[in-house]
Amino acid sequence: MIESLVKANIHLYAVMRNLPDLVANDPVAARTVARWRIGIQFVVWRGPAATLAFDDGTCVFERGRHGRPELVLGFISPGHFNRMMDGKGIPLPLRGFKHLGFMRHEFPRIADRLAFFLKPTEAKLADSRYQAVNTRLALATAVFAARELALFDPVCRQIAGRIRDGAVLLNILPDGPAAHLIFSAGDITAGLGDIQRPMARIDFRDLSVANDFLNARLDLFSAIAGGDVAIRGLTPMITNLTLIFDRIPGYLGR
């Protein structure tokens, strides 16, 4: 039960929330949504909720239920939502029946584009533009998924209990992207971008090294010793955070 909830949270709050970044960084995705004007709300009974708003080429993601979107999709359980994310379930339209056609025919185009970038292969990664988008989205997925795991997964909660209060920054040199997690009295905030005065930081030499790390293809110990990755500050925060990162594939089935 709890695993299903954690998985639903990750699907919505870590995977789906990449859509604005995807639209901003991938021309194909941008073209796909260029004329969309629609709000879609995902509401999972006893689970996560979020609102997506597409407006003439922009995309905004918000946790929770916001405004009066044209389309509200309900799910009777986290498992129901997870089945939809795995392509095996159909949502219950709670509002906006006339937009079901959009959901059936249009939305999958952007969802498929997201999946394309979140499921890398050697061949795809050989393309530097693909690698850049994959890295950006994988970094965001990692920090937002880590938040959900640290708050709700039973083992990760114990790991997070060992993490001191403060911010952990993950930064890709020379010019980003960056992401961070802030631990504060049992609460955890994930975010994109730099942050001032982190308690611990991990800097990747370049996009390629970060990509290897995020796709679990890097021996982190050797990379740190060899100089491809630099860690500073309260490094146990990083050690424990990577233990949480390492559990993400268990939920996303990679």
Partner: protein, 417 residues
């Protein structure tokens, strides 16, 4: 003062990473050093309180092999005893007579020792102690201190570490250091289920100040253990013989049932020991625990010679005194640069950090600058001093300390990648 470079180290590490997981694993992993670029990874040779890396750089060693070196690398009294034993026998069929000599020596030295058992590493004897406690009490649960280190076996590591399964943690209860009421609460909640309380003599968490026992702490813990028939185990592997030749429990005035020893016993030769009270001797005899190399005679001969010599010169007192001189002087130097250098724990194995530097980044920079100039400082772990650190070593260290503070003063050091 020039700073070190490590071209050969880097090349050797590249080779290592090709054939060894992580390049160098465990507590020697360079990944624990911040930044690794400031540190040597490979030791070419060592003598006294110094070692030389593969690039020919010399370091005054304040990690002492993470504890085992206590009387100086290559100390003649140890090497001569080891060599004499090596000429006779080392790893053979049958135990060597020196094993009996060494056991008798420990029993004579330590009030908490009525018998002794030998193995190789700390974890060997910690695990044996737990097995004895469970067999003696017929109970399962172990109480340990949050953040304490007792080796890398599944139950000793925290939940979620790689290779650790949930079941490894089922019988382990963690409580805060110096929290007697927490122990009482555990004994109430798990009445009749607690086999052992295990702790280091004082708390030495990584990345945090060492914490001494509060007034009456050990007396109360010991009384609770006796009242509830819980086996009291002291993990004296890191502290042992750096506070008192009679064991750290003698230093703090209490009587454990079992004491785990290791690091400083044989000045680098591989041996650990579990010593215990008479009441647990027959249990220790029937709990089967052994290893192929646990009867090696050379480390036993080295340990015997080393412990005798340490006793003759009262090595713990030498280290405590010398350490106090060194670290007091370091604090004074720090003050002249406007830094508050905090020293916790005892001076023979202190933990240092620069105050008002919550992330420890400034402290890491300072340790790195010291190491680049020839004094091996680590930022995350307690340091060690040996009886072989000479006045000249200390004087040179203080000059390096001064230079290191000068190097970090007012600098916003870049991320090295």
């Amino acid at each position: 003062m020039s700073t070190y470079r490590y071209p050969k180290r880097q090349e050797l590490f590249r080779r290592a990473a090709g054939v060894i997981p992580g390049g160098i694993y465990g507590h020697f992993s360079p990944a624990t050093l911040v930044p690794p670029s400031a540190y040597p990874f490979f030791t070419a040779r060592a003598e006294g309180a110094r070692f030389w890396d593969v690039d020919g750089n010399t370091f005054i060693d304040y990690m002492c092999a993470y504890g085992p070196m206590v009387m100086g690398y290559g100390a003649p009294h140890v090497e001569e005893a080891a060599e004499a034993q090596r000429r006779l026998a080392d790893c053979t069929t049958g135990a060597a007579p020196v094993m009996v000599d060494l056991a008798e020596l420990l029993v004579d030295m330590m009030p908490a020792a009525d018998w002794a058992f030998f193995a190789k590493n700390g974890a060997d004897v910690v695990n044996f102690a737990i097995m004895i406690a469970r067999d003696a009490t017929g109970r399962d649960k172990i109480v340990m201190i949050e953040g304490a280190y007792h080796g890398t076996t599944g139950w000793m590591q925290g939940p979620g570490h790689h290779g650790v399964i949930e079941a490894d943690q089922h019988q382990v209860i963690r409580i805060p250091w110096n929290d007697v009421p927490a122990f009482e609460a555990v004994l109430d909640r798990h009445h009749g289920d607690v086999a052992a309380f295990i702790s280091t003599p004082y708390h030495i968490p990584a990345f945090a100040d060492s914490q001494m026992p509060a007034e009456g702490y050990w007396e109360k813990i010991q009384a609770l253990c006796r009242r509830h028939n819980v086996v009291l185990i002291v993990d004296d592997i890191r502290h042992g013989f750096r506070l008192d030749m009679a064991g750290s429990s003698a230093y703090f005035g209490f009587s454990p049932d079992l004491t785990c020893l290791g690091n400083a016993m044989a000045n680098g030769y591989p041996i650990s020991a579990l010593v215990g009270c008479e009441a647990l001797k027959s249990t220790a005899a029937r709990v089967f625990h052994t290893g192929s190399y646990w009867f090696q005679a050379v480390p036993m001969a080295a340990a015997k010679a080393n412990l005798v010599k340490m006793g003759e010169i009262n090595a713990p007192q030498v280290m405590l005194t010398r350490g106090a001189l060194l670290f007091d002087a370091m604090v004074n130097i720090a003050t002249t640069y406007g830094y508050d250098l905090k020293v916790s724990g005892v001076p023979s194995m202190p933990y240092l950090r620069i105050a008002d530097d919550e992330s420890l980044m400034l402290h890491q920079d300072w340790c790195a600058e010291g190491t680049r100039r020839g004094a091996y400082f680590t930022p995350h772990h307690n340091w060690f001093i040996s009886a072989a650190h000479t006045d000249a070593d200390i004087q040179q260290t203080l000059e390096i300390v001064d230079e290191a503070f000068k190097a970090i003063k007012g600098k916003n050091l870049p991320i090295e990648c």
